[in-house]
Symmetry: D3
Subunit: 317 residues, 6 copies
């Protein structure tokens, strides 16, 4: 019985080393990454036990993804499938003005056919938090229904529901996303959303504080986190707005920063800390994540403590 | 205007280094490989000019595949597509008893929708040889028709048609393959086929010499090559059968050996050599290929000459 | 509750790539390897659930070792220690006449202070098999006692005890080993031992069949396996001797072959198969292991089935 | 028939990875790079078809260089030589205060004996632009003559001539360069020159705008581009001076930045754009190039469009 | 007979590449590094001949460390030991806020038992400078005595003694360090100390200039260098204080920066330069070191000259 | 004062990894190798102190070569030159039938102008053995004279002279080699020569025993070693012929095998062993060398002892 249960797809990530291009690299680094497993790992590192639910092809590629998540200490409860592909994405990281680029190759994946009844729903209902993101319902119509069913089951079981809006314009249009996701809002307790998505997908206006306020008021969320990238985040809770600055960081890989933030926030909230403290831990976790290659917040709570305490560690020997 | 025009899919090949497993490798080596481009490259190396026709997604992955083929000196005539994936395959090379394993991830690729009318058919009709393999019609029903249309056009243009049977049991059943491919046989001049496929897919019986004879007699082929892996090959031409032994070789990568054989055979035939001589060059090219990582016969005719002449070179310095 | 529980040290293994020498290599490949976790992983792959018990330093190096074992699907029950080093070994693999060489750097490790009372002994007593090796008591006098206590507890709980003799001359002398290990023999049901160790450490004489017989008769073992490297193994059970040949294999790494053999043997026995069948699976698992870099039998039961069935797989595509 | 034909030497570039030093690195990354092929590739990427002329040794090293250029989509028309070396250079990239350093090893190369009559001069005369740089005549006295002859032939054929001054103090003295290159100026339509070279080699004075003006007035150039590194460039055309700022960029490799600029400028001019627009494309291409390892502007016009449009792309997924 | 003789431990350094974590990296880069050999190498590069004394295990790991030092041109005079480990350290380099972290694994090393009488003390007495650091006496009580004995012998032989305070909080407490090291102060001519250590270990107060002054006055040092990281250094000599700024640098690896500084300072002083000039060379050497991976100042005096002269070199080709 | 002094060129060796081809590899492994330094290193490893004389360019590439030799414990006495290139060679290792291939790029190197008077000839005269090979006089006419002068000086100083015939057909013709080298024979005490060279260059006939005998009789050699690759070697000394078989070996790299043989033979002879014993050590050293990448016999005398004693070591742990 884990503190937090997450559900979603984790992809095989293929990326050329050191700024090289997909068009010419002779080797790809291989990682596994997906918002929901990233959040589970970050939560685990910050003190919450975590389980990841998914549907995965019974192939070496599928086993690799699951093994990678297990090695980070996460319990996995996986439906092994003999149909459907392992989702992949090609990642080309680069500085400005080239920018980081992602090519998704995630159609007809095993998870796209996952139905709620294939999973042990009691796991969700026994957990303290159930988490998924806006990526999951974007993957197939089956998954739209599955996401709704899981959120409903969680609510019925008294499990807090947390949801990262995570709009991906390579998966669906703003209109589709808005229509689908706002329909899920009534079942969600904690919403995490980028200020940009609140504006361009949901059509809200105003500064991030106003966005948080409007979202919190209009729907029945307990907590709303509006993220602002390098400018930090806004936490709205019980009608109070909290400002959290981002820590300065030497970025090695931006991928997974938001997931590290969210996982840490949830873990510290579960640990009983108040929203401002949880936001501080979330920001510190996100900052350390940015120094780490791969999707995953491969860090220890001690390291996060050190950053929260004095904003970074000098050479320690 | 090239001596030989080939048509088919070339995949991105992802393989773990040095006997590692897909399930745990942290990097994949990236190559491009496909029977038809492999044959084009081998033919080019052995003295024939070559063009490769295909339909490829307009992405960095697609451009990578095309660039890789171009670098080996092949002319490419590619339909760039905004729909359909880049075909990929995962290759795990290993010695016995593990054996080499391939995981195809080539559904819904760009080429699966390729129709003959998308290509400049005169390129085929101006060439001396048109070549494709049994993999191409296995990829989609559209491609079955396209393959038939291209073979027909070649025949009409007076272009010799060459075809490698290349049965792949991960793509279709023996029955499907037999039904589809034997229907193409009347349009084919030169058939290359593994002894194993002649038996298990086509249902012929006998030793390789008998297989070659039966195939040559039953259908209207000019030339039939029956390949036998490390035991060499049989060439049937004008009702005469020629035996070709395989050269001893320190195998680094077996992938593409057959394509190297076929490309070299066609090139030397085009150059005017008789069947036994062309088979000898084919066997030597295949042997050198096996010492080279990747799918491609990245070698020079001089090297093949040396092997044909004295069965291998000692340390040359 | 796992089928098999193993107890022992897993080291960080540092090895230069590709035949290079420790004296000059500029990078080391990093693996985790230890007889008892290797056996757990092989058993898991062959169908038994497995748990690994150990004592590990609470450092990134310790977490790495534990994570690596977890990723292979093994449950871990680890005493995290703030004292004692992470054991390491440097491995230089080479062909003849250089031979493979190991430099141990495993003094004062965390596990050397592990006492039975630090572990949840019920885990051992609830399992069907408890397994450890002769390496564990070689590491410290505390561990001699711990090993004896665990074997005793297992016996009390009705758990079958299995033990790999695994003499290491870089850890102790034959005399020390004989004295210590024979004292443990009464508590052991299944003994695995190399013919060489039976002769040079225990002082038995005769061919492997005779060694198995003498060992089985003199002590109260249910089963004795005498391993003979590339010449196969002998299984003695209920006074009957079974001969198992080794499969031919293209060796990439010999390290962990014996552990793969033992893990597979135990798993198939647990699954209800008779000794000859279990030996056959063990030999096939060992043969595939040799094609895999690292200490671990990173393979699937399907692959082992294929080898058992037809002695190896050809290129599969 | 290509839009642009370039002539010059492309070297094999050997560079230690990641800031390591030539004195101790155990591996070198291998690229092919030369100003004239770099320009051809950049021009091709920005929409102009391109051909590269050169003389190259008939060795694996020579074939490698030619293959590398071909893979980027450039037509190559190469005189294969059995005499003369493949030019090489050793590149050590580093930040300040160490700085990037180059060791040339390009004496007695195949190209140093290249004469105009060895090439199909009609290719130059059929093109819309002929391009070479001040490096070519620096390599041998034969090449001084060849450069002059090719420029003359281009002029006779009505082909626009473009020339990058590219002074290299490791190849010749400022006096030699000035004397040789100013003699070529009458045959040149478009001159690209670094402000530094205009001052220290040609002896002009003033700010870059003045340099451009003086150069344009004194000689009979149609267009003069004065480049200023990170401070942008000045374009002088029809007596009008245009200022182009450089884009901010996260530099991975500065090598080839100028060539990317020049290739893009020529391509966009050929496409009919006016000088300010072409300069903007040139600056954006140069900025993206700096994020890419190797000598070559391995990018797409779409990426350049995006930078021109909004000064860089954010994470796109 | 070398200008400078240093004594101390050099460790095998194992570090994950590119910001990866010890917890998951699959390969470690291998270097050799230790303050005293680093200083010897930097001194040699800046024009002084150098010898390194140490006690090293007679293993491939020990030979590797010694070979690495020899390759940089240092004479080595090593006591080969059959007991004691090779010291190792694990280094994880990262930007802020994670910071660089070091895990020492250097207990029970060969050097911990080194006594002065095992070495040829005349080598120390024939040299112009003897150098060691505060790390050496921190390693064992034997080494405390050895350090004292060597300093005494040097003084008796008329050899200048130089000492880098180098407090390491992972080796001992501030109290232990202060007590031990201040007892050595009377035998030391040139002291190098970080401002931070002067404050937190020795308990001095004030700005760096004041620290230098107080240290120089209170003890009988000829020269005191107070280092301040990126803010430069203070040199106190003959009661005069000199300020030296640090050069701006693109840091690749901070490890060894202080050693590069100290080695260069000593070498230039030995060459007869005054303290401000020697400080300038020291700062330039340190700045270049930071652009170089590994512990060692793998640079040439020419490069340092260039930085001193104009503060860094532009691209040179 | 070393036991053995060698003189010759050591090249930078660039080789693609793992059977890849120069034509497409994206990185080259970097080693330093030359017959005379290889022999010095092998001799040192087998117990003789060694010095290597050469003339090397004062560049990072030259420093790298010298540093590499120093790291193996060899004293170097090098004339640093500001003119002339660093010799390079490109090595492509492959199994049969491709075979290993070498491309020399060693014209106009620094050493080609080396004259005897540039070196401290007393070093040669103080040594017990002076060694060079037939490669040295093949490099330039200056070096022919230098070689002759050094051999003469050695003879005058009472130093034994040893010479490896080492014919390289990529450097000169058999006729040139025979004429030049036989002229040196009167000054040589110990000749090492491949049976193949004795036949095709010197025109001798007969089996290797006869070749040794004829060579020994016709010229005034004390000792003649005729090497036969994998078939072992013949040693002729005092008119007695000794047969030495080669040890079976898993070859990783054949380059430098002969040099390892020769260096070991000389070292053991210097140590006072008789010819058959020295040959046995030579053969064992050569066999171990073949398991090691690079040109150099990076091994210990202990390892050679073990092979001599029992023909190879099993897994040692």
């Amino acid at each position: 019985m884990s503190d937090i249960v997450t559900f979603g797809e984790t992809m095989l990530r293929l990326s050329p080393p050191d700024g090289e291009r997909l068009e010419s690299a002779t080797e790809f680094e291989v990682h596994a990454g997906g918002a929901e497993s990233n959040v589970a790992i970050a939560a685990d590192r910050l003190g919450a036990t975590a389980t990841w639910l998914s549907k995965v092809p019974e192939t070496p590629l599928g086993r690799r993804v699951v093994g990678e998540i297990r090695r980070h200490g996460i319990e996995t409860d996986v439906v092994w499938s003999h149909r459907g592909r392992q989702g992949t994405y090609y990642l080309e990281q680069a500085g400005e003005p080239r920018g980081t680029n992602v090519i998704y190759d995630r159609e007809n994946t095993a998870i796209s056919t996952a139905e709620a009844r294939e999973f042990d729903i009691e796991r969700i209902q026994d957990a303290r938090v159930f988490f998924t993101t806006g990526i999951t319902p974007a993957l197939s119509s089956t998954l739209r229904e599955t996401t709704a069913n899981m959120l409903k089951a969680a609510r019925q079981g008294g499990t807090t529901t947390a949801f990262d809006f995570n709009y991906r314009n390579k998966l669906w249009s703003p209109d589709e996303a808005r229509e689908t996701l706002t329909r899920l809002f009534p079942g969600i307790d904690v919403l995490v959303i980028a200020a940009r998505d609140a504006r361009t997908v949901l059509g809200f206006e105003g500064d991030p504080r106003q966005l948080a306020h409007k979202l919190g008021s209009q729907y029945d969320f307990t907590t709303v986190i509006v993220t602002r990238g390098s400018e930090g985040a806004i936490g709205w809770h019980d009608s109070v707005v909290h400002d959290q600055e981002a820590y300065e960081t030497d970025t090695v890989s931006p991928i997974g920063t938001g997931d590290a933030f969210t996982g840490a926030f949830i873990a510290r909230r579960l640990h009983g800390e108040d929203v401002p403290t949880a936001l501080e831990y979330a920001a510190a976790t996100a900052a350390i994540k940015r120094t780490i290659p791969g999707d995953v917040a491969l860090l220890s709570k001690d390291e996060v403590d050190a950053v929260v305490k004095d904003g970074g560690t000098a050479l320690s020997r």
